[in-house]
């Protein structure tokens, strides 16, 4: 039986979905960065990152999202992030990233967050 790939890429003719298998931190970011760069190099311009498996993003992870957004924007593409926990949504909003790319929370999660 083949092991399941760590970070899943779902193919779609128009939009590409990317689902990290866990947190986006300094230790996991290098591999995720390679995946995202490859997708953009393949021609993906409308990229959706599904955060359903992601609980924590550190400053390296935030930098990776910004870098991906910047790369797509230069190519007239767009980044969407979906299924964020309430805590992650508030964290990214604190850095005003909601002004730069689309993001939405996971409707199943509603834990109150406070900074």
């Amino acid at each position: 039986m083949q092991p399941e790939p760590e970070n899943q890429i779902e193919q779609d003719p128009i939009i590409r979905f990317y689902k990290p298998e866990g947190d986006i931190t300094a230790s996991s970011a290098p591999l995720i960065r390679v995946d995202l760069k490859n997708l953009i190099a393949e021609g993906v311009r409308d990229l959706v990152i599904d955060m359903i498996n992601t609980r924590v993003i550190d400053s390296t992870g935030i930098g990776l999202l910004v870098s991906t957004h910047n790369s797509l924007q230069r190519l007239n593409g767009k980044l969407t992030i979906k299924n964020l926990t309430q805590e992650l949504l508030e964290l990214l909003k604190a850095f005003r990233l909601d002004k730069h790319f689309n993001m939405s929370g996971d409707p199943r999660l509603g834990s109150p967050a406070r900074m």
């Binding site: 931190t25 300094a26 924590v56 550190d58 930098g63 990776l64 990233l97």
Partner: protein
């Protein structure tokens, strides 16, 4: 049952050890039923440990990072130190303005967002991040931090 309110780590400067320390810290916090603080405290611990590994010890695994977590009736504090020369934290705290499109430079702002008190030693190679857990004061807004309140 563990009754100690302090836990310490000393480990080689590597990202694998950052993940291990954060995982153990989460278990320790869960044992104290600090579920609502897990996210904020993990963010704080990760940033401090990443800074110690990358900036303090320059990712040199022959150097160590030390971490301590302490819980009392009012707060949880996380202390992290490295073997580097430190940095001019006073200047960096003043300059820490976050350009939305920058890919880095958010670490100290994360300290300020999630900790109620941020203390460095004189040289800057040790940080103590204190988060109140019972008698919360009103949350800081990001605008407050930008304006240095």
């Amino acid at each position: 049952m563990e009754t100690s309110q302090v836990k310490n780590w000393a480990a080689a400067a590597s990202l694998e050890n950052v993940d291990l320390i954060c995982a153990e810290m989460t278990v320790w916090l869960e044992e104290r039923e600090l579920y609502r603080e897990l996210f904020a405290l993990e963010i704080l611990a990760r940033e401090a440990l990443n800074n110690a590994v990358f900036h303090g010890n320059r990712s040199d695994p022959s150097k160590k990072v030390q971490a301590e977590i302490k819980h009392d009736a009012e707060s949880v504090s996380i202390k992290v130190s490295d073997e580097g020369p430190g940095f001019n934290w006073r200047e960096c705290l003043k300059k820490e303005e976050v350009n939305d499109n920058r890919e880095n430079g958010r670490g100290l702002t994360l300290y300020q967002l999630y900790a109620d008190k941020v203390e460095f030693n004189e040289s800057g190679n040790e940080v103590i991040l204190i988060r109140l857990v019972n008698s919360r004061k009103p949350s800081k807004s990001f605008q407050d931090i930008r304006e240095g309140k």
